[in-house]
Symmetry: C2
Subunit: 122 residues, 2 copies
């Protein structure tokens, strides 16, 4: 249906981002279209890297029905900033790592620029 693991949905239910669905006579969860829609919302937001806490905030706005584009934009921009910060961080790592590895001879010798970089005294 959504490709989402059932246990993940149960987890979302437990932490309160998914509502508890009605049950069948045998106590099975009976989801309807609204649940599927909400789950998709959560899954898409997760794909965009929003934390469940941020998603809770987004949902609170939408659930109120009175969300404004301005409010949503603030949340999205905050998240965008953190995504950009992570990219910058990883790029720094990528740069250091790739330029160090590039100096490796790759042979059977014990001397290694990577180890040197991790061991250096300075």
């Amino acid at each position: 249906m959504t490709g989402c693991n059932l246990e993940t949905i149960r987890y979302y239910e437990k932490i309160g981002v998914m509502p508890e669905p009605p049950r069948t006579s045998k106590n099975y969860r009976a989801y309807d279209e609204s649940h599927v829609g909400r789950l998709r919302f959560i899954m898409r937001a997760r794909e965009l890297g929003f934390t469940l806490e941020e998603i809770r905030d987004l949902l609170a706005l939408v659930d109120g029905g009175a969300q404004t584009c301005g409010e949503v934009q603030v949340l999205a921009n905050t998240h965008l900033d953190s995504v950009r910060a992570k990219i910058a961080d990883l790029k720094r790592i990528e740069h250091v790592l790739s330029s160090t590895v590039a100096q490796c001879t790759g042979g059977d010798v014990p001397e290694c620029p990577v180890i040197d970089a991790l061991t250096e005294v300075t």
Copy 2:
């Protein structure tokens, strides 16, 4: 000394990447230069995004004293690949998110391109 939280060092000791140091008569940990060096190694590797599992592997090579540049290079390249994969992932997110937010009016209206993107049926 190293700027590392004491409780983090204890954690490293517990999971076996730091050796248990000798104790003073009052049971206080007595670190020497070798411990400091090893901790710095771990901290630098963490800064480069290596997991403690990967660091364990690196240390196993170094501890044997018979590490070769080739072996280290393999570990470093594997990690580099995962860093690059994360960057690619975050860039995709950054692209989608920034182009969606760019369409926001930011006003008091309920219509919002970000919400639309999360809610769309397709």
